[in-house]
């Protein structure tokens, strides 16, 4: 995994993410946020993206597991993996939980970066990655292989 931080965690960065989302949507609209998340998914997380392009979701799965566990413990997610699909179900998102603990509303837009990053990770890869928002702190990400046409 390209980035594997250890040590303490500064969870207030989730407040900064929330501010970034609202600033971009209010000032520039959704396409700006879409491009920001595309650059993040494909350029910052180049290693994950290159693995996906090669038909390998293992780096993405390791990334999701490591950072959800680091911030919310093993109980905050479950996942199932078969030959054709990976389903990563976040039961209690540490980011959303931190906002709530700080008295900040978790709006529908807060999940938008995940939706847009998963779209960007799907581009030009053999996979379709979808995001289902199931509640303020619950969502499910599903990676499936595209059917050959």
């Amino acid at each position: 995994m390209r980035y594997r931080e250890t040590g303490e965690v500064h969870r207030d960065f989730h407040l900064s993410t929330n501010n970034m989302i609202h600033f971009t949507l209010e000032r520039y609209g959704k396409d700006f946020l879409r491009e920001l998340m595309r650059r993040t998914a494909q350029d910052v997380y180049k290693d994950i993206y290159m693995h996906l392009k090669a038909g390998d979701w293992s780096e993405l799965l390791e990334h999701w597991k490591y950072f959800h566990e680091r911030e919310g413990g093993k109980a905050c997610y479950t996942y199932t993996e078969t030959a054709d699909a990976l389903v990563f179900h976040v039961l209690d998102c540490p980011a959303a939980r931190h906002l709530e603990n700080k008295g900040v509303a978790v709006t529908d837009e807060f999940r938008l970066p995940d939706i847009l990053m998963n779209e960007a990770w799907s581009e030009g890869t053999p996979f379709q990655i979808t995001t289902e928002v199931l509640g303020p702190a619950e969502y499910r990400q599903t990676v499936t292989r595209r059917k050959a046409t």
Binding site: H14, R27, T40, V44, R70, D114
Partner: protein, 158 residues
């Protein structure tokens, strides 16, 4: 979820995109960060002034895994960053660092402390080395004198 650990790399991409739109757009974003941070740092300053700043940044030092030396005196609060985790991550990044990444720090700190009657002298030192020096004074002339001696003074809104 964008991990807390990775926010600064997204922030770094945000800076690049805003600079492409025009430097004023980047400055407008820095001001929005300052407004957000006023709600986080502000209560510490209101409660304990310079000591409150020490308390706030000491928590940051721990949570962000900074190598830093913090000092508070009757005159100023000083932050000597010996290894900045934020610039280090922006540089350890497959997308590459925004050349003016360091400027965002003074860009949010200065407006917040000024709102509470303090003044920040900021020496970026280098935009490619993860070190910087900063002092916050009640006395504006002393902050300006501190910044006048800076190797690379921060002027984020000039």
């Amino acid at each position: 979820m964008i991990p807390s650990d990775h926010f600064v790399r997204v922030y770094n991409e945000m800076f690049k995109m805003l600079e492409e739109k025009g430097h004023g757009e980047l400055q407008a974003y820095w001001m929005s960060v300052a407004r957000q941070q006023e709600g986080v740092l502000g209560p510490f300053i209101e409660k304990d002034g310079l000591k409150g700043m020490f308390d706030y940044w000491d928590r940051i030092r721990i949570e962000e895994n900074c190598d830093a030396k913090l000092t508070v005196t009757d005159e100023y609060f000083e932050f000597l960053m010996l290894k900045c985790p934020s610039l280090s991550k922006a540089m350890d990044n497959d997308a590459g660092a925004f050349p003016y990444y360091c400027d965002h720090c003074a860009a949010w700190v200065k407006p917040v402390v000024e709102k509470f009657g303090y003044h920040n002298g900021y020496d970026i030192v280098s935009r490619t080395e993860p070190v910087c020096n900063s002092r916050i004074y009640r006395d504006k002339a002393k902050a300006e004198a501190y910044q006048a001696k800076a190797k690379l003074p921060a002027h984020p809104y000039d």
